[in-house]
Symmetry: D3
Subunit: 169 residues, 6 copies
């Protein structure tokens, strides 16, 4: 059933439009399912006053890191609904951990995601970190408006055709 | 790639925070996929007036049990979005049935969920019953405010490492 | 523009179908916006072993009541997506509180919702309690399968044409 | 564990209700996973003025076809949340292509969906076309109110027990 | 605070990108809130065999029109999540009605939406019709694959600066 | 009706739990509706190779900035579903603009959100930037894994009791 499998942008009349740069998912139907893991990190720079309030659990809205953790886990499960070209996956695990970084008055966030499937879980880990960071921001914004979210990146990944990756810098 | 797989709360600096009791999903990557089924039940105690209205299809908002059934099926498919630590599953089936319980002026609800996967489907069955019950409540609340939802519990489950379960009381 | 406002089931040909009992929202376009509050309650009967584990924060998945609280708040904001005939509202507040009920080895849940609008917020309070209760269940189900969710009902409401209500029994 | 697997509507007391015509999903637990593909098409008839505006990228809200394409891809991933009895699937690919149909002042839309699973992906393809078409409508409605969406149908499908299908008319 | 209100694409460096045709919502902050209504219609052409099955409630999946109606109401409330540039509204009412069109072996669908707000509710009515039509399709596709959804259009709207509209053809 | 309005954590038995630091929304029922605007910024540092690919529209998945823009607009409308303690708002406008930052091989993102309401729209602007940034990352990750998202912060806000704010550093 060849012409079903040929991408529609090769059919006459459709090609030129799609060549103008519109969006497409990657077709993962030829990929094999393997165990896949991704680790992403990020940082919320709170400034000293908000940092102390988080550390000492003095934020009026509640225990910031617990709320952020739960929001991050829920966020990871929503990645394919939020990111247009991201595939649905069944996550086997999402873990989110925080480190109180006194030196920089910051919260360091790390998320690990796992699946068994034909596509990686980097975006789920990155989304978990992002939503956790936004939740920290939301809960601290009445204390300080100078909060900054940064250093969001992939730390490592395993599984898949492109092999393992570990950030070196 | 050992340290990717070690949980982040064992890494130095992160452990103490996570030991303070924050939330984590269960890592199901080592579990094997099996056929899994769950049956959950619940009851909406309507009082006589609202019960008669439901039974005789006199509720102004429409056929209560049909709307509740559809809401319950949709709710089951949303369980992992609603319950933070619940895993995504691909449900193979959701069935919701109602019994008009004249003796107690109540609607008895039963939901059955099925999947083939590494995690059970109890929460999907419980969520189906809950959302169906809330929908009954919503559609009858103009008739009576003394409606009560109760007796929501797991009746039986099959599949998975912990084996089959059937409620005895 | 009268016939736009006449319900479609009065138009010829459509009426008999709708009279067969299909679902409809209540048209709230003629209602006036007032301050509205609702209080709903519910109970998760855990059994002694799971109750002690929750009370002493020994549940492996994390701090049960905090996760349940956050899930309940998020659930309240989803009520109109979950319940087919429930109107969208902009909630001004959702509060969820828990009481450790030693006598019954149960968690008592109470949710308060507030809005300024043309429709009440009972369903948002009931949904908050339901999702919080399901989250408690989910986090404790590895300890006990005999958990039961019950006694979910409206305790009080204020605002709106039907006036204030307070449950008496 | 026979009675778990028997549908609840065969249990006494429940059967008559379900026989009244309430909704049920198809139980796919006995189906085998195969590669499945579906192609759906649809058309947005814009009228000359709106057609020219889309073609020449003069629509004030932006590049209509790109926005429609992304909305369609996201919509396909939401099909089981929107259609009550539609099963969750993990889509391996969604492709949406447009053809500028000068003769009819219309946009022709085609969506292809793929999965490996126990259920087909027709509804995902049909939903992709629908949401893409509604997005075109939304972006052009300030130019013309006489836009019409039509000709939405399945063009072909492959995989599954019922075999391949190709529309002949 | 003038430069906050100036659109970012007038700021240096950003303008040329946005002028390339990317997407933007219409800013409705200067519009006044009025009562708004929209009526949309559509048709599902089932073919004789599927039409008879729907009419006589012989579709195995359940009562087609009731399920479609509920899906349509829920869909209307999701319009702004599905259509990228559509504004959130608080719907005061959604009504969906069906007519069994024997002559064309079709289901005629009509949706009415209402709000009080600064933006119209055409897209909510169109989305309601679309999701209802897709649900009819989903429930009948095992009976026939030659089903076609068409004739989806705005019938009338009232409220807003552009005044009332009623389709004439 | 005083005790309805008193927070539940002042009721006996509930107070000590809530004082342990659980989460609560801010009650905005006493706030007045005003026009509110927020501007947030962020940066995706792509590295030279991925930057050139984005700039020259050579990314295989499509036109990165358009997809990111649409994802950001949709993300802004989801903020209260993603961030547990964030209030629902009806956004009047979301604008997202990009600047190609050649010097740093980065995409600079700016989002503006507007509403008329009792609560600010900072989190909607921050979420828009985050989801847009994650979308850029997702579309470029096959070109480079060393992409970093950073500098996400509030630039300015207007409206509300706390007055206008403009970041000075």
């Amino acid at each position: 059933m060849t012409d079903l499998d040929s991408p529609p942008h090769h059919a006459s009349g459709l090609s030129h439009l799609d060549e103008q740069g519109r969006a497409r998912m990657v077709d993962i139907s030829a990929k094999t399912a393997t165990s896949r893991t991704a680790v992403a990190t990020g940082q919320v720079r709170l400034g000293e006053r908000a940092f102390v309030a988080v550390r000492d659990q003095q934020i009026q809205k509640g225990d910031v890191l617990t709320v952020a953790q739960i929001a991050g886990v829920l966020g990871a499960k929503q990645a394919s609904r939020l990111l247009p070209l991201c595939h649905d996956v069944l996550l086997q695990n999402v873990e989110i951990a925080f480190e109180l970084n006194e030196a920089e008055s910051a919260i360091d966030i790390r998320a690990i995601t796992k699946t068994e499937g034909a596509t990686g879980v980097e975006m789920e880990a990155m989304t978990a970190v992002s939503i956790a960071a936004l939740t920290v921001y939301d809960m601290c914004k009445s204390v300080s408006k100078d909060i900054e979210i940064g250093s969001m990146r992939l730390l490592a990944k395993s599984g898949g055709r492109s092999g393992d990756y570990r950030r070196t810098n």
